[in-house]
């Protein structure tokens, strides 16, 4: 038996922060103190708190260290594991009180969460099937093998689970449709083509708990009468692909996947398909076509539902990673258990990738119905640097931006949709006062234009037209009537595109116009960018009274645009300035001499400069 178990997070985030070096160093130190047989090191999946990585938890006492490095290991082993003194400097510090927190239970980022989909993420070693089995893994499969398909489907239906891929279609109803269609062959497909910028929950589940997805697939297969599944994963997720393949091999070795599973006569095979870098393949018909080895373009209308005629025209049940991974628990704990969580119309939990301008960012799971403001201010710990909250973007390029007045919203599929945004893939990007809403809208449009498959005109050309108008606005060439034109174009693209990508592409623009129209107007009429982002509408200037001539900006200006003698106020040559903002960032806080100006202030400065 081990005295202590140390969990080191080995999700993509923590690995890039040096988790594997931490492990290497820890092993060496343990050996030095002859502790290698007393302490077991576990590489776990994502804990969600990627920003504070690498995460390092010691059990059984549950001490949560974060931001540890390989260099910290000698001290940590010596002080904590040998002498038993907690190393305070490596503990989490509350951003408001500055106090140390020893257990994750007391960290606000975790306290408000409820983890069902992410139940095992960061808890088990994802490459060890035994750890999954201990936490009731494959019990749901066992139970489902003894159930009638109808019974399984009823359980899923009664649980109220809705597709966690974003659209929120009732999962049980989808299963029922797939079950009722008669066919010699049916497929189950797991959509792990998580292409939305700002979302990484599917990746974390596959990296942290791959067996739960496999078990979900098998239960789905048993329910609808299918013996083969495909998991379509983004090629940009190499670790997820590797762990999934390893999980499949282990499950096959254990006889939990393959022929005659648990002597029940049920056969099931899981194939992994790597995507090849096309966002549109997250759309169901495009995904299916891509698996068939073709150009991943959505099927033209009218088209049968994928559930009726999908892969090779066979009935195909398509579910998202998160939906599948929560299925085993629903079977295990029953429909009522799941239906008891969340709101009346939206059961269970929602997983968000909370990022952008928050003090704490990472992967979170919360009960449906939680207040938007609670997510941002309590879990996210508010906005850093004393800045003001401006908006929160949810649902990626298909969603929208919600302003402060919506922070009271009880978050679920329906309320977000009503407010002009959507759950979507679960990206939740917090924007502060230094974010320009027109620029954000332009950013998303740029994404859609690049990712449009080009098949239908409204999406291919319409989004490009919208982007050009937005470019004009951001560059100070906006004209009266541009906003109306954007609204009209947006509406017709929504009405006439053939797939979900096109139909939702204008959302970021429409919702920002809805809530932040004054910012559009400021760009168009006053040629100002209130958030000081759009380069053509701002200039940098040095306050002659505040500047002490320290020379920091002059030495670092890549364009050589700053002149001035030592200890004399410096001046920016506006002709040469590329507005890279390096001088603005470098000017010491105690001077704050570099100013960013927009609109009338530019004109005033030009006059004041005596030109």
């Amino acid at each position: 038996m081990y005295d202590k178990q140390i969990l080191i997070c080995a999700g993509t985030g923590c690995i890039s922060s040096g988790a594997l070096d931490v492990k290497g160093s820890l092993e060496k130190e343990l050996e030095k103190h002859n502790l290698q047989d007393k302490v077991r090191i576990i590489l776990s999946g994502c804990h969600g708190f990627c920003e504070k990585g690498p995460i390092f938890i010691v059990y059984p006492e549950d001490i949560f260290y974060c931001g540890v490095t390989a260099e910290d290991m000698p001290e940590l082993v010596e002080e904590y594991l040998v002498k038993g003194n907690i190393v305070d400097r490596l503990l989490y510090k509350d951003p408001i009180t500055g106090e140390s927190v020893t257990s994750h239970e007391n960290i606000p980022f975790y306290r408000q969460q409820k983890r069902l989909v992410l139940r095992n993420c960061g808890v088990i070693d994802p490459e060890n099937i035994d750890e999954y089995i201990i936490r009731d893994g494959y019990s749901g499969l066992k139970k489902s093998l003894q159930m009638d398909p109808k019974e399984i489907i009823d359980t899923v239906k009664n649980s109220g689970l809705r597709g966690l891929g974003g659209a929120g279609f009732p999962t049980g109803r989808k299963w029922e449709t797939a079950y009722k269609i008669e066919s010699d062959k049916k497929y189950v497909v797991c959509n792990a083509d998580e292409g939305d910028p700002g979302a990484f929950m599917d990746r974390s589940v596959l990296e942290g708990d791959p067996h739960s997805v496999l078990e979900g697939l098998m239960i789905a297969g048993k329910a609808i009468g299918s013996d083969e599944a495909y998991v379509y994963v983004r090629a940009e997720y190499p670790l997820a692909v590797r762990r999934l393949r390893k999980a499949i091999a282990q499950a096959e070795e254990y006889g939990l996947l393959g022929e005659n599973i648990l002597n029940s006569g049920f056969n099931f095979k899981v194939n992994v398909k790597e995507g090849a870098g096309a966002f549109v393949c997250g759309e169901s018909t495009a995904l299916v076509i891509s698996i068939e080895g073709k150009r991943g373009m959505p099927k033209p209308l009218p088209r049968p539902r994928t559930t009726e005629a999908g892969l090779w025209d066979k009935p195909t049940l398509l579910n998202n990673v998160k939906t599948l991974s929560v299925i085993p628990q629903i079977i295990n704990n029953g429909a009522d258990w799941f239906a008891g969580i969340g709101t009346e119309k939206c059961k269970g939990t929602a997983v968000f990738a909370l990022t952008g301008k928050t003090n704490c960012s990472g992967l979170i799971e919360v009960p449906m119905g939680i207040k938007l403001g609670k997510i941002i201010h309590e879990i996210g710990g508010g906005i850093p640097g004393g800045k003001k909250f401006k908006a929160v973007q949810t649902g990626g390029p298909s969603g929208g931006c919600l302003p402060e007045s919506k922070l009271d919203l009880a978050v679920d599929f329906d309320t977000l949709l009503q407010a002009g945004s959507m759950m979507g893939s679960g990206g939740m990007v917090v924007l502060d006062e230094t974010t320009c809403m027109v620029d954000v809208a332009r950013y998303f449009l740029n994404f859609t234009v690049e990712e449009s498959c080009g098949q239908c005109t409204p999406c291919r050309s319409g989004t490009l037209q919208m982007l050009e108008i937005l470019n004009d606005i951001c560059e100070g060439n906006g004209r009266e009537g541009d906003v109306e034109l954007l609204l009209e174009l947006g509406k017709s693209i929504i009405d006439s595109s053939i797939c979900g990508l096109g139909k939702s592409a204008p959302n970021p623009v429409l919702s920002t116009i809805d809530y932040f129209r004054d910012e559009y107007e400021a760009h168009i009429k006053d040629k100002t960018c209130p958030a000081l982002v759009c380069k053509n509408l701002i200039i940098y200037d040095i306050d002659q009274e505040a500047c002490t001539g320290c020379g920091r900006c002059r030495k670092n200006c890549p364009a050589g645009a700053i002149a001035g003698d030592k200890k004399e106020p410096h001046v920016i040559d506006q002709e040469k300035c590329t507005k890279c903002a390096i001088c603005y960032d470098l000017c010491p806080d105690r001077f704050s001499a570099v100013k960013c100006l927009t609109g009338e202030k530019i004109t005033a400065m030009a006059k004041g400069g005596g030109n």
């Binding site: 975790y110 983890r115 960061g122 089995i133 006889g255 648990l262 002597n263």
Partner: protein
């Protein structure tokens, strides 16, 4: 005791020659048996072997579930 536990390092390993599970002839109670077995026979040592794996891997009660 330690020497015997080594016979079953992973759940897939048979606890003794009474275990019938194999990939070719899977045992329908495999999953339950790993957690609370053995089911098909009674043997304290076999129970102990399973418990040892559970204790080894059950490092944390799981968190954030409330």
């Amino acid at each position: 005791m330690k020497g015997e536990i080594k016979l079953m390092e992973r759940f897939i390993d048979p606890c003794c020659d009474k275990c019938v599970n194999s990939k070719i002839k899977p045992c329908e109670n495999f999953v339950e048996c790993r957690l609370s077995g053995p089911i098909c026979h009674e043997n304290k040592e076999c129970t102990g072997k399973r418990q040892a794996i559970i204790e080894k891997y059950n490092h944390s009660p799981g968190f954030f579930q409330h």
